[in-house]
């Protein structure tokens, strides 16, 4: 597709259930980010994937959160045993950069996000 695609757009779940959020980056983009935007808060960095390198997981808030990126393309963010404080918009972004001084575009292209509501 032309842009970053995220699914589902909305997810309502019960406390304690597991959820999976999906991100399809722009074709050819090697870098993929997950962010969380809570009501009234900024964008909280969660995790970053770059090509075949080990992901930067430093922003994951707890071990209930995990993410995978299969084949260097699609990514799945999994939240286990969801809590009410997990309610937020989860945003995925991709970019073209593939090395520190690639001279690449640097800018991030964002998806529309998944609105997660934990009841």
């Amino acid at each position: 597709g032309a842009g970053v695609s995220q699914s589902p757009s909305n997810k309502v779940t019960e406390k304690g259930k597991d959820v999976e959020l999906r991100c399809d980056p722009i074709s050819g983009h090697t870098a993929l980010y997950w962010y969380r935007q809570s009501l009234g808060q900024g964008l909280e960095f969660l995790i970053y994937f770059q090509g075949n390198s080990a992901p930067d997981k430093s922003g994951l808030p707890s071990d209930r959160f995990s993410a995978e990126r299969t084949g260097g393309s699609v990514s799945t963010l999994t939240i286990q045993r969801t809590q009410q404080e997990d309610s937020a918009v989860y945003l995925c972004a991709s970019s073209t950069r593939d090395r520190v001084y690639s001279g690449g575009d640097e800018k991030l292209f964002f998806g529309s996000g998944t609105q997660l509501s934990v009841l």
């Binding site: 870098a31 980010y33 962010y35 808060q41 900024g42 964008l43 960095f45 970053y48 770059q50 930067d56 430093s58 922003g59 945003l91 972004a93 950069r97 520190v100 640097e106 800018k107 991030l108 292209f109 964002f110 998806g111 529309s112 996000g113």
Partner: protein, 114 residues
């Protein structure tokens, strides 16, 4: 570790007046700086970036930003605000000397009154 501060939760300006949205940053290496905008019910969009070169950077929709190394600031400006500029603006920074993590500020909501 890098960080970004946007000291104003909200900025109000009258249409036709100049606007400034403030951003300061902290990074150990060379700063790569960005502004993004989030319009109501729309995704985040890139506005402009500073990587190297001229301190004054021009971007989309008539916006510009000035990189000030001594003040570690990257304020967003526009000479004449439009009602359609009303949105949520995010400043972001990446450490250009290593790592790929892009950190965003808390955002500043801009209201432009007709």
């Amino acid at each position: 570790a890098q960080s970004v501060a946007q000291p104003e939760d909200q900025v109000n300006v009258a249409e036709g007046n100049p606007l400034t949205v403030k951003c300061t940053y902290s990074v150990s290496g060379n700063p790569y700086l960005f502004w993004y905008v989030q319009y109501p019910n729309r995704g985040l969009q890139f506005l402009l970036k500073y990587i190297t070169g001229d301190n004054l950077v021009k971007g989309s929709y008539g916006f510009e930003a000035e990189f000030n190394k001594s003040q570690t600031s990257f304020h967003l400006k526009k000479p004449s605000a439009l009602v359609s500029d009303s949105a949520l603006y995010f400043c972001a920074v990446r450490d250009g000397d290593g790592g790929f993590k892009t950190i965003f500020g808390a955002g500043t909501r801009l209201f432009v009154k007709a």
